[in-house]
Symmetry: D2
Subunit: 355 residues, 4 copies
């Protein structure tokens, strides 16, 4: 079985393949009367789009979102919002030579084993293209969150061994989109850029991390004992293609810290109880504590590389593959808006449940 | 709202507090006719039990599981399996002095904000005690998996800076339970042990990682695009108290590796397609590929420490707290069976859906 | 598979068999801070209890509800509310002679086919006893609804051919509990009573209908296009043992009416838009319109009769059965509080979702 | 909130309005490798289409289904199957004069109260047009059921007071589609036809019942205690526009029967245990018993009539309305394929869960 619906209250159902008509989705549970900001949507789609920088897939798609339902005179009606993004540039010829061999670390083999299709890889259901649908839904979620004063900002925090050194509190969000790698710390961004050029020249790929910060979320969000805020965020993040890890607050990097170092002391400030530090990443006992939420998502190096690799074909014969199709050198910069989108969807899903 | 049911096909509903009658759960969707191995259950409960070593909470509970329904003449009937573990040793006096102050990095504050109860911390819903219920359900799941030749082995892979150096393939599972810290690499286990004694003497606490390995899972398990195997595992793991991070396969430690290094080459062996390496952790495109699944779960240092800490009370007044109650120095060794339990439940949930 | 959880926001998980420890349930999603009215609960349980009149099962159970969690100092905490009702009076000997034969129109055969148990009939999972658990949850739901000014009143509207002749608007709810058959129209109630005595003397059984009226529900409840208010109510009602039919508003009895007769004209009254008639039963397009909701539930004659019946045993051999165990002559009067309970649970489930 | 997804394993998400681009849906969970019979689909769509007889809405739509995903080379791939049916013939002018008044017994008022839109009635989400989407999904479900030897046949069993007199066992399915009213009993069909002409001349409308029979379903389908087969069927049926009642087996018409008359005696026939009669409608204890399933669905008279009716406008002013738009005299004949579709979807949803 497949599961292409995400969320309980704010529900996204995703569909579509690389071949065929296009990809799309249905958003159900979106409140009525929401002003749809189409410019904002266009901008968000643009942020996720391939070919937005030299390090990402060269396949160009306009990613224009055509709405089929749920919007009337610029406002949501409360009915399901269906949309489609047409395939313009399928170039299936690029994939022709890989049709009967399993690309290393791709989903070709597992889709084949699960569904038994020759159209393995599910026609690209496991590819990055699918994430455009998430960004559309995420944009609606962000519009809802904005009206509640909640903002989400993600950025590239590490590529290979190059990583930001400034703290969460010091991040200047206005710098993120200025950098082609979406790293807000200028000197690190430059090193990442040079490093990625080198990777590209070698026909190789590299991974890294996206960090995401949520501001303005009030205390009380999260549904223990199973639907803890971090559990739902981890689920959302780990559903993104190529995501291989998740942590929040001090996380893996705080593994040497003792309790006395990592505990966040409560203090009173302006008649509000906050914590002096935020190693908890804004979440305690699975519930938001009104401090900023922050977490990291690890993305593995893209499995599509143009270096020749050994593999087997559908009959188990050893062969060699060299992937010449359009592919990202590093998914991290493009994953930034996707991480934001899945965060927004997850939070709205919680907010639409009554406490 | 709270969410105390986990799973879609094999569903665990958890209940209970530290005060009152006890904790318990209802397992719904367990197939009928399963032989219940009560000795195995007893052993699993014993593994999770507090006071099983000197580094974990000194509160002793026999954790005897009393079944209320769903089992007839030693076999499951297909009806819901309800059970209760009675509270024997509540000692609420220990918690008396912390009743009106918020313990740093505990769930006291967030539960209070969410539910508005003076009985904050949800009577211990966010405590480790709740996890006994998961272990009961996990034991039933393991019994189902065993019949399918699937085994799950978790162990302590890191405490503070002390970490195992052997590879996933080299782990000797038979060594895990021989060590009081549940680390299968003897020399590292010894260092962890000494380190934990030092932490204990200082009244402090420390975190670490549990690594979990699943063997025998056939290819095809996982439900993209949202219910990817790693997404559901991450959700399950991050719902465990004190879990702060998750990765699988090469994970965060492989962040420097390039695609050419991390890709897993497909090879044919005995007429079966496998991968030469397993940096994918047995999962590609969200679906198992028949290689061993492995992942890590990060646990933060226990927030209960006996060192004095500043905090505020319910009215926002600054105060000091020194937690003298029973608490773990390090939850990692005790988390081992809990990680296994949640893994087992998640896998059975997938296996009970038709492909 | 079995499904023993009902509801999405206000969730009841039911467990337990006639043999063994008892029956019980877990209510998850109940808001915190609700004052638990234990007298009200006791009264509701009393209403459902067997042996409350001469026409219902003679098995007497005190049906005392023991709470295991979720209530602290008389208020709900927001944590799951678990409870158990112990078996006092199992008298399994009564059932001994029917252990290997399939009782006509019982669940023995289908449970056996589904679960393959010798303990067929699921140890009584399909029996009326299970409904006590629903009444407990329904009582909590009613307490929530009361605080919102919503009341639910069900009554016996037909037994065999004896049926009430007064209209929905004319029902005097205060008469319901005065009658042993729970029919608010005195003359009809008396005829039902005499009829039931006759049925009893013959060792036979009879069915009938319960009508349920919900007052005080505001417009806007119901979630089209699938979770229409009537769809969820029908689902809830048809899950009750022995329920064989459902209609709302004019229903089956209005089948001769034309649109011009059945349409409800909108009128303005005290600045509120209401309908002049209420053939819609308070629901239009799957959503409440603020008029009283009303619907009927059909219950078949109890399948347990003391008249000898032909049947087969587990090996297919023809045999005869005479059921001497305790059983209801007519489930309708006892079904009244169960219909109310399932209605209350269904409505709270809707009300706990944000619009 | 709205709920536009139906099913747990075989899931239909519906979208679309009468104005705008069209209506459509996404089917998720359909097994891969299913041969799509496009002719069968075309025929099923044709059966539901308006204007297929003189008694149904005169709005003509070709109802051509355009697939957007999930089918490759004529077979399902296991990916979500998205489709759209474009609006060809919106004629919004017809509805122009009713834009600010609430049509009696329509969803105008309740949609307005729930969603606050001027586009009330949800742009036709509560109209019969939405059901085309259900028929598409139902056709896929029927294709799955066919492969398992399960067939579904529904027909008009009553219109106004005209009702079939033959028993369930005697129905000749081959006669259903021969009659413009879809009644398999020729003499009754003729009377219905004459009666409908009379209703039409008067500008009025009338309701009736559809009976549905499922053959070939093996014993064991249904998931007590809540997801009983009849509960899920009732939920499915009552989600259909204009459905006002449901019963199965002997149902409301058997209300005078005693247990001794209605009980179904078990007998052995050809080494299979069956029942001598089938008053249980093929379901006992919420689980199929391998006998034919049968149930009735009541449909109220269409609320759109061309007779002048009093009503109020959006400001509460009394006004008069005469609905001249295209509308059905009687939805019953057209509801036949919709009842079948929802039955098929519900059954496949059960069959895709492991027992």
């Amino acid at each position: 079985m497949n599961m292409n619906t995400f969320g309980r209250n704010f529900r996204l159902t995703s569909f579509g393949e690389s071949h065929g008509v296009g990809i799309g989705g249905v958003i159900d549970g979106c409140p009525s009367g929401l002003d749809v900001n189409f410019d904002f949507l266009k901008n968000e789609m643009q942020r996720r789009r391939p070919a937005q920088s030299l390090f990402t897939s060269e396949r160009t798609e306009s990613d224009e979102v055509m709405f089929l339902s749920g919007i009337f005179e610029g406002k949501t009606t409360g009915n399901p919002i269906a949309f489609i993004i047409k395939n313009e540039n399928a170039q299936s010829a690029d994939y022709e030579n890989i049709k009967t061999v399993f690309r290393p670390s791709h989903a070709d083999f597992t889709y084949y084993k699960k569904f038994g299709n020759v159209d393995f890889n599910g026609g690209g259901r496991s590819s990055a293209r699918e994430t455009a649908v998430r960004v559309v839904a995420g944009t609606f979620a962000k519009m809802i969150l904005r009206n509640k004063g909640i903002s989400i900002n993600a950025f590239t925090s590490q590529i290979g061994d190059f990583k930001i050194s400034v703290s969460i509190e010091e991040i200047d969000f206005s710098q993120i989109e200025k950098s082609p790698v979406r790293c807000p710390q200028e000197d690190v961004a430059e090193k990442m850029f040079v490093f990625l050029q080198e990777i590209k020249e070698n026909g190789d790929s590299i991974g890294g991390t996206v960090t995401c910060i949520v501001s303005g979320l009030s205390a009380g969000i999260g549904e223990p004992i199973f639907d803890k805020l971090q559990a739902r965020l981890a689920y959302a993040m780990m559903s993104i293609p190529a995501a291989h890890g998740f942590d929040y607050g001090a996380g893996f990097e705080g593994i040497s810290q003792k309790g006395s170092q990592q505990n966040d002391i409560f203090i009173s400030k302006n008649n509000k109880i906050i914590t002096a530090t935020n190693n908890s990443g804004g979440i305690q006992g699975g519930i938001s504590n009104s401090m900023p939420i922050y977490f990291r998502v690890l993305f593995k190096p893209t499995s599509s590389i143009s270096i020749a690799q050994q593999t087997v074909d559908i009959e188990g014969n050893t062969t060699e593959i060299k992937i010449n199709g359009r592919h990202d050198i590093c998914v991290v910069p493009r994953a930034v808006p996707i991480v934001e989108a899945m965060t927004a969807i997850s939070l709205v899903d919680f907010l639409l449940a009554k406490n």
